[in-house]
């Protein structure tokens, strides 16, 4: 059994408590993430994905009910060293322009690393590494004004700013929105590399089922602030009472497999990625 890095149980949360605008965001969310996996968080709009991620970064603290344990510390404990936890948990926000606040890209990427108290050469090295990892050329971008970036470049810069802190746990809130297909697959490669080489654990909130099928090891389905399904990605996507019930589509690969089987094509196993489907088709074809 691998180590559990995130355990959320029975978490409830409401925004603007005590005002006429009070709204419940989480009504009993559950989440378990093991070290070194890419865990996906899926659910329709307003399911509470972003809220849950904010709890993992201790931006929100359990106020009403529930337990949140992140990297072995109780995120509800009043004595929690919030800053120390945040140094180990990096959050990339849903809207990158909410995240970039320094005037120049280089400064913004360096911001978190500077907060760690690293020396100037170390910070520079981190910034160079992070910008290379997300595919932003250091010399071309470090002196660009953050607000002059395009949507996709902002997305990359925001991610670089978090990567430069080398967090143990990386939280991504719909991180591929605004990226072109090439950028999207680059990001997927990067996340796999971070998992395999750096041992980083990734929690990824996403609406794109194909992306989740391609990338994730486990998946948790949220609806109306409640966890309605969770488990290894294959089990969840191939379970009968799966995603349509909560208004989510299947990954297109699962649809393809279903359609082929309906037509009597004996495809083996439970393929999830396009490569797996292709392999299955080759194997099922008479030689």
């Amino acid at each position: 059994m691998s180590e559990t890095v995130v355990r959320v149980a029975g978490l409830r949360h409401a925004y603007m408590v005590g005002t006429p605008m009070e709204t419940a965001a989480l009504r009993g969310a559950e989440l378990t993430v093991s070290r070194g996996e890419i865990a996906a968080l899926v659910g329709p709009d307003g399911a509470g994905k972003s809220t849950l991620l904010r709890f993992l970064n201790a931006l929100l603290r359990p106020a009403r009910m529930g337990q949140v344990t992140v990297l072995g510390s109780d995120a509800a404990a009043p004595s929690l060293d919030v800053a120390a936890l945040r140094r180990r948990v990096g959050l990339v926000f849903q809207y990158p322009h909410h995240q970039l606040f320094e005037r120049y890209v280089g400064d913004d990427v360096a911001y978190g690393a500077r907060q760690l108290g690293l020396s100037a050469p170390e910070v520079r090295e981190r910034v160079a590494w992070a910008m290379a990892a997300v595919g932003l050329d250091l010399d071309a971008f470090k002196d660009r004004a953050t607000f002059s970036l395009s949507g996709g470049e902002m997305r990359r810069a925001a991610l670089a700013g978090v990567l430069a802190m080398k967090p143990e746990l990386l939280l991504l809130d719909e991180a591929t929105t605004g990226l072109d297909p090439g950028g999207r697959s680059e990001l997927h490669t990067l996340l796999r590399r971070l998992r395999d080489l750096e041992g980083m654990t990734v929690v990824l909130a996403s609406n794109d089922m194909d992306e989740v099928a391609e990338l994730a090891d486990s998946v948790t389905v949220l609806q109306g602030g409640r966890t309605v399904a969770a488990g290894p990605v294959r089990d969840v996507f191939y379970s009968a009472d799966g995603l349509q019930a909560v208004g989510l589509t299947q990954p297109s690969t699962v649809g393809i497999v279903g359609a082929l089987r309906e037509r009597g094509f004996a495809l083996p196993g439970e393929p999830l990625t396009l490569a797996e489907v292709e392999e299955g088709i080759w194997r099922a074809l008479p030689a």
Partner: protein, 283 residues
Amino acid sequence: MASIASLRHVSIGQYIAMGSVVHRLDPRGKLICFGLLIIATVAATTYTSNVLLLAAVLGLVLLARLPVGYLLSTVKPAVPVILILALMQLLFYGGSADAALLTLSWGPIHIVVGRDAVRMVVTSLLRFLDLLFLTSLLTNTTTHGELTRGLESVLSPLNALHLPGHELAMIGAIALRFVPILGEQMESILMARESRGVGTGGSSRWRVVRNAQQVAALIVPLFVDAYRRSEEMMLAMQARCYRGGRGRTHLLESAWRLSDALALGLTVLLVASVLALQHLPFH
């Protein structure tokens, strides 16, 4: 975190649907009443007139079914400033020596706290509450669309002077709409900074300086974002053929009803009595 959450508690400019009598009043009438009540608030300097005014305003808040506690809680961040201002007024208002309640002497410094100073402080606080409640009353019970329409027709006499009444109303309404947006934006920037470990490391001795720097650093991104937002809004309006007020009609037309006339009449009566109380021989 408490500081971040409290930014959301900006009650001004936020419509709260409660469906009360006040919500249903004609926006033009409401605006005129609002203006009259503001005049009364500015004019009221005596105890009696202030008590009457505050009672009336509180009555209106209750009538509109707005949560009084919530409105009051929005003042919390301003309390230190208000207290310092009150103290300054109390100490330095001056006044004649025969009406003095308290005289402090310390070397060459003489501080006289007079009856007038106390009255000034008390009435200032009450009037501050009036202003808060009145502004909340108007913006919490009137949707932005209604407010724009109301402002436009209240300002329409300006058209005769070749002043752009519609545009002024539109600018005013958009400005109000931006209050909660800026609050949310500020919150998200603060969150972004916190999530990357602001306020860690460094000695606590320079914390005040650092906090001041952090607030200053917020202003630039906040304004850049506000500009960009307004630019996008401009494009969105142009894309839907907005060309200013000329020839523009409204989906909803306000109808002036008996209740509106009644509300206006009562407001005029109230303002008149507040002004009359000002001139009574006793305070």
